[in-house]
Symmetry: C2
């Protein structure tokens, strides 16, 4: 599906811009603070730095926490860096533990300490439980706002117990059943509670099939569990099966979005969770590294061409055709690499089927190599009225497309085994290989023939 | 975050492979049919064609519908193509309407007709309501399994009404309040129902702030609403405000995943929702078109080089250095293009801030152009002991990086305006531009100087 526009946000942005320009400051402020925090976060992320700054200053203090919580990491850090510990403590007061933990993890350690000190004992204890786990694990994703019940109660007692609450935590679709040692026993979905005879007990009606999530499970695995089981929330336990909290789908959606984003941005050498409207200097600085890295590989390819100066001097047509061989290798290799990186991110590629994928890609490389080598051979022969150059470029194209297929498939599997992110490193290594092999095979064969 | 492994799925796959190889067919069958449908779908998607076929044959007929429902489009079509209308009707009987609609939309029209004819009147009427809307709109995403109540009831009556149900539909987090004409009035969250005094009325406790989703809203906009408002489900209405059904977060998660996937696969010229383990011939066929398209652009670049044969003959070093200029332009342009495509997919880029982005990218292009032009100038001058060639490549690099920045930013905005998918077409056009401009500027300046 094509990228489509978002009329609503654009309308909001346009209306805000218009209001700002016509100077009705008070209207804009009221409009802005009437929007849901997610909408304001989206507006901030869709704004240029100057406009963003003006908008943020208009946000009421009461709304800052919720909005900060919805922002991407980069922008969040940006706004947080202007606050002191007391302000952070104040604006995060009413957020979920996992969200506060996320925010605290982005602050300098000393500020985090101060924020924790500013909290009451109970809040701090709960929060430290979440902070104990890395933020890309189930423990780092969880909230501690669970409603727990005991198995021996009747549903009628449970209903009366619920009515003693002011409100139930957001995304509560189940009550968590624990034993006297706080160990997870099962779930009582609200869907079940509401249709069951109130005189039944929790034990009779609860669902004990659910496997709770261990606190150290990586967040992408948690996301896949949610996707496959269509969960709205799920309990998190420690090694002893003791209930620590629960994960809710809204936080999982963020993980899914970030994971999917990771492959796209990393393959272009961009930081993940990037700020689309980052200012020019910061952007230039970040991109410079990637360009420098690619410049090195470009010089490697150039020095390969340099070896064949003599041959190119004799047959200048080689200089004309050589980029074709290198570029087709790069394109074919990138396709294979993307399929592998994507499959690995989706947890589809294992050791056993990795070998099958390399073979499949080799097959694809050979088939497309034969097809396009033939086309290139005919086109080049006709162009330069020289059947020899056609044969040479065909052979080089075949060699490079098969190399590209093998490298595109084997490289990410290898990189992953040595714990290097294939999405980030794969592209640079791959195009170096396809450039070098493309130039060496084409110019090398030509040297054998013409030299 | 780096792509991590999925121990659980891999263990399952490995165990299944082992069991299959040691011949305990019955065990495998029992194991497979004991797994949740999402897990089986993931196993099928992570399997090579042969193994996939064996697994599918072991799936019990009762489970086929749920598993088909969780599969990606390509695999789903594959398995459905072996079934006749009666089978499809049978396995989809207990699925949600939106899921059945998705499946029917992938079948030939005649089969869809037959499946609909095989259904009872009520099911057919409900399904036709969903089929009426394109599958990438809110209407196509919705289920019709809503529980509706009237505003004048007391909560006590509502609770008794719910208890008359066998079970509540999955992902029911709210009851939908409608008036006598079935027009949407508000939502009564279960969270509210459960903590409120049963003698209160629905009217007193319901939430009327919720804006229902119009049936023709594009699915990516629906997804953004869910993300920003942390919804679990949301009501869908027609133009008259009449309730049609509701959308649930599980279906929205699929939209989010697919949209994020779209940019990644399209930029590499791959079909979205692709089958990682598609067989060799089908894969080769699909990739061939993309390679052919890129071959044309490679020949365009080659014919540009061809114009400068005379100059290259005089100074062979030009042939050595020219790929550096083209490749750096391609890299820089791809970074810009990726930022734009991603920002557009996330609904952050509008007409007003598009101009700002073009300017920002131009600034980045100039800064990085100056930096790397200097580095390249020094490196080339030292290498070929010729300060002139250093000056020439520096000027060409500067021109190409600024062109790349402008093209990478302006092109997607332009393509979108003429309704061409920037993720798909952007890369091909961009690299053509950076190749041509790279070769023309470098070889052209060299011809002026050396010619």
């Amino acid at each position: 599906m094509a990228a489509t526009s978002t009329p609503k946000t654009q309308q909001q942005l346009d209306r805000l811009s218009a209001a700002l320009e016509s100077g009705t400051f008070v209207d804009v402020k009221r409009m802005l603070n009437g929007l849901p925090p997610g909408d304001v976060a989206h507006l901030l992320e869709s704004s240029t730095p100057r406009f963003r700054h003006i908008l943020w200053k208009m946000v009421d203090l009461d709304n800052e926490g919720d909005i900060i919580n919805e922002l991407s990491d980069e922008l969040r850090t940006h706004f947080l860096s202007d606050m002191d510990a007391a302000e952070v403590a104040q604006i995060t007061e009413h957020l979920d533990d996992d969200d506060v933990a996320d925010i605290l993890q982005q602050l300098p350690e000393q500020v985090t300490r101060e924020v924790l000190d500013a909290m009451d004992h109970q809040d701090r204890a709960r929060l430290e439980r979440v902070l104990h786990y890395p933020d890309d694990t189930a423990g780092g994703l969880m909230n501690t706002d669970t409603i727990t019940i005991r198995a021996r109660l009747t549903l009628d007692v449970v209903l009366r117990y619920l009515r003693r609450h002011e409100e139930l935590p957001a995304m509560t679709d189940s009550l968590i059943v624990v034993n006297r040692n706080d160990r997870f026993v099962g779930l009582l979905p609200l869907r079940t509670l509401l249709v069951s005879d109130p005189s039944r007990t929790v034990r009779e009606m609860m669902d004990t099939d659910v496997e709770p999530i261990p606190a150290y499970m990586p967040d992408d695995e948690v996301a896949r569990l949610f996707e496959r089981h269509d969960w709205v929330s799920a309990p998190v336990v420690d090694d002893d099966g003791q209930l620590l909290g629960r994960i809710t789908i809204d936080d999982v959606v963020d993980v899914i979005r970030e994971d999917a984003d990771h492959s796209l941005t990393s393959m272009a050498g961009l930081e993940e969770d990037l700020d689309t409207f980052a200012p020019v200097f910061r952007t230039a600085q970040r991109r410079a590294i990637w360009l420098g890295l690619n410049l090195i590989t470009a010089f490697v390819a150039a020095s390969v061409i340099n070896l064949f100066q003599g041959t190119i001097e004799k047959v200048v047509a080689l200089a004309v055709l050589m980029p074709i061989v290198a570029s087709m290798g790069g394109i074919a290799g990138t396709q294979t690499l993307t399929v592998l990186v994507r499959g690995m991110a989706m947890g589809q590629v294992s050791r056993s089927n990795g070998a099958w994928l390399i073979n499949r890609e080799l097959g694809v490389g050979i088939l497309n190599g034969m097809l396009w080598a033939t086309v290139v051979a005919v086109a080049s022969s006709v162009w330069f009225e020289d059947w020899n150059i056609g044969m040479i470029i065909a052979a080089a194209m075949m060699i490079n497309l098969v190399t590209a297929a093998f490298t595109g498939a084997a490289l990410p599997l290898l990189l992953k085994r040595v714990n290097i992110d294939p999405a980030l490193a794969g592209g640079v290594v791959l195009t170096t290989v396809t450039d070098v092999v493309g130039f060496v095979s084409f110019l090398g064969l030509a040297t054998l023939f013409y030299g």
